[in-house]
């Protein structure tokens, strides 16, 4: 009857306060059936609070949330019956084996024994834990636990899968595997995936992304459209004296935007490939390295949060490092990216 609405998640003006702290400050968004929807933001932005409210674990202070047309406050049991969850922290029972954890889950969701036996094989094989099914979870590594949790969340064949930082703390290979798996299940099953992440490259794989900061959604669109907000290309240069280089750039190219991000200067430009030689020719400052690239969600995030920081400061970013240095965060979690930059700079 109401099972086939287009917008499977509807959130309107959702707020959650803890005393004076506004963890979620009036957010609204919708998620379409079959979509992979990403919630991108730094730690403490309100991602987990939002996900907890969406999956009935937490009560909103105000606002309404409909999951598959059911109000989460009025019909929590109903909502729980068609959602699957993977939390940020491990929620497996250490004392039990992998198989027993799956069995408990199946029982909690009222899955028949026959269905369970069938699905158990399927999910354990996809997550490559079949050989470990008789082992206690206590002996598992972090990656194995995460894979088992994803397998478990699929046992009940949920309509919506909530993943709260599904790949946090995993090595790059396992992360890739988890993502392959997520795409795979999305393709095979009629399932909507809502995930939170602080990895920008993961957010790029989503169909749509909402960027959340300080409890507010500051942008929400497809990754492509978000990147268009930044403009054509990004040039980052590193000079021996960034301050004077910035000053010089302002004088010579007042029409372009230059920002100091960490130890680099970032220029947003429409046709970067044409501007690069002009820049090299006209800039007297000694350049150590230069990089031309397409904007990433990282740039979008800096653009959006950067604007907030600059509000008090007449168009200049403060010389201290930004509050959320996502670029360093990025390199921290993705060593290959760091490596790329280094090789380019040589």
């Amino acid at each position: 009857m109401n099972g086939e609405i287009e917008e499977i998640i509807q959130v309107e003006n959702l707020r959650k306060k803890y005393g004076a702290i506004k963890a979620v400050d009036g957010i609204s968004f919708t998620v379409k059936r079959g979509e992979i929807f990403g919630f991108l933001g730094p730690n403490g932005a309100g991602k987990t609070t939002t996900i907890n409210i969406l999956c009935t674990l937490n009560q909103p202070s105000s606002g309404v949330v409909y999951i598959n047309n059911y109000n989460v406050v009025a019909h929590p049991d109903k909502v729980r019956s068609f959602i699957g969850l993977v939390f940020q922290d491990v929620t497996l029972d250490d004392h039990l084996t992998a198989e027993e954890n799956l069995y408990l889950h199946a029982m909690l969701y009222g899955i028949s024994r026959k269905d369970f036996t069938q699905r158990k094989i399927e999910v354990l094989k996809i997550c490559e834990l079949w050989d470990w099914r008789k082992h206690k979870v206590h002996d598992f590594s972090g990656g194995m636990k995460r894979r088992l949790e994803i397998a478990r969340s699929l046992i009940a064949q949920p309509k919506i899968l909530f993943l709260d930082e599904p790949t946090i703390g995993l090595d790059p290979q396992t992360r890739k595997k988890v993502w392959d798996y997520i795409f795979n299940i999305r393709k095979k099953k009629d399932i909507t995936i809502f995930l939170t992440t602080q990895y920008l490259n993961e957010a790029e794989s989503c169909d749509r992304v909402a960027i959340i900061d300080h409890g507010k959604i500051i942008a929400s669109d497809t990754p492509e459209n978000l990147k268009k907000m930044v403009g054509g290309d990004i040039i980052t240069i590193k000079t021996e004296d960034n301050d004077s280089a910035e000053e010089e750039f302002h004088q010579k190219f007042p029409q372009y935007n230059i920002k100091k991000i960490g130890k680099e200067l970032k220029i947003e430009i429409d046709k970067g490939n044409e501007f690069l030689p002009v820049l090299v020719e006209n800039l007297n400052a000694k350049i150590i390295s230069m990089e031309l690239r397409r904007p990433t969600l990282e740039d979008v995030f800096l653009e959006l949060t950067g604007r907030q920081i600059r509000e008090n400061d007449n168009g200049h970013i403060e010389t201290e490092s930004p509050l959320f240095d996502l670029s360093s965060l990025f390199t921290l979690f993705n060593p290959s990216h760091n490596h790329d930059k280094k090789t380019k700079s040589q």
């Binding site: 674990l57 109903k78 029982m107 909690l108």
Partner: protein
């Protein structure tokens, strides 16, 4: 087919009970210590205390008095400490997995209560098997009656445990609270000494102690074949019917309270 949704819901209670039992059996140290500790109590404490009493001419054997007390103590401790699994689950995350499942909160609480009560029942069962060696005579009927009382005590204590877990976030603090609860409750229940002969303030306090009625009921049932009713009444504060009635009422009230608190805390 019509009853299917009900069955599904009951399976939630069952699975939580099942997990509780699984945890109990898997935890071998807990399992064995829970069996041996009361036996040690019986052997050493019982024998030791007996040496004080031979001068006093009692119409009953000390072991007969002491046994139901130890039984009550063991069952209480076991049932209460089993509810620690909720705090444990909260601390290590598994509680979330249970809470987002479609199983209603009340069924989760009931499953936990029944699971913890069952661990108490198992312990009581094993101790009861040892009773004949202490000179307490049994018929099968009495044995089953004893088990029923043990279950009622274990159930009430497990529910009490659930109430206590409401605000507990750490297992350490919970075990501390448990000791604070168990000690006065056991001392004021007449488990170790007949409460009748105690000062009035203790007698008054013991009236508000649910365990008093549990131990009373146990004595009435377990000793009924060994001792005369007039002697048993010296060891208890109330007659059997009153004791049992209060015990059952306590179980019902505390269940309602436990479910309410469990709903609130999640």
């Amino acid at each position: 087919m019509i009853k299917k949704p009900n069955l599904n819901k009951l399976s939630g209670i069952f699975i939580l009970w099942y997990r509780e039992i699984l945890m109990y059996v898997r935890n071998r140290i807990k399992f064995f210590s829970s069996i041996f500790l009361p036996i040690l109590f019986l052997i050493f404490f019982g024998t030791g205390l007996k040496t004080i009493f031979p001068l006093v001419t009692l119409p009953y054997d000390f072991a007969e008095f002491f046994f139901p007390g130890i039984l009550g103590l063991s069952v209480t401790t076991m049932a209460l400490s089993s509810t620690m699994s909720i705090v444990w689950d909260r601390e290590f995350g598994f509680l979330k997995e249970i809470l987002v499942s479609p199983v209603p909160r009340s069924h989760i609480a009931l499953g936990k209560i029944l699971g913890a009560a069952t661990t108490g029942l198992i312990e009581g069962f094993l101790l009861l098997l040892a009773a004949p060696y202490l000179g307490i005579n049994f018929s099968l009927k009495l044995f089953l009656g004893g088990l029923a009382i043990i279950f009622l005590i274990a159930y009430g204590m497990a529910s009490l445990g659930i109430c206590l877990t409401a605000r507990m976030k750490r297992t350490e603090s919970f075990s501390f609270i448990l000791q604070l609860i168990i000690a006065p409750m056991v001392f004021l229940s007449g488990a170790f000494f007949p409460i009748n002969n105690s000062p009035a303030w203790m007698v008054n306090l013991s009236k508000y102690n649910p365990l008093t009625y549990g131990i009373n009921s146990l004595r009435w049932v377990v000793l009924s074949q060994t001792l005369k009713p007039t002697i048993i009444s010296q060891l208890t504060t109330n007659n059997f019917i009153t004791s049992l009635g209060i015990l059952i009422s306590f179980d019902i009230l505390i269940t309602v309270l436990a479910i309410q608190l469990f709903r609130k805390m999640c």
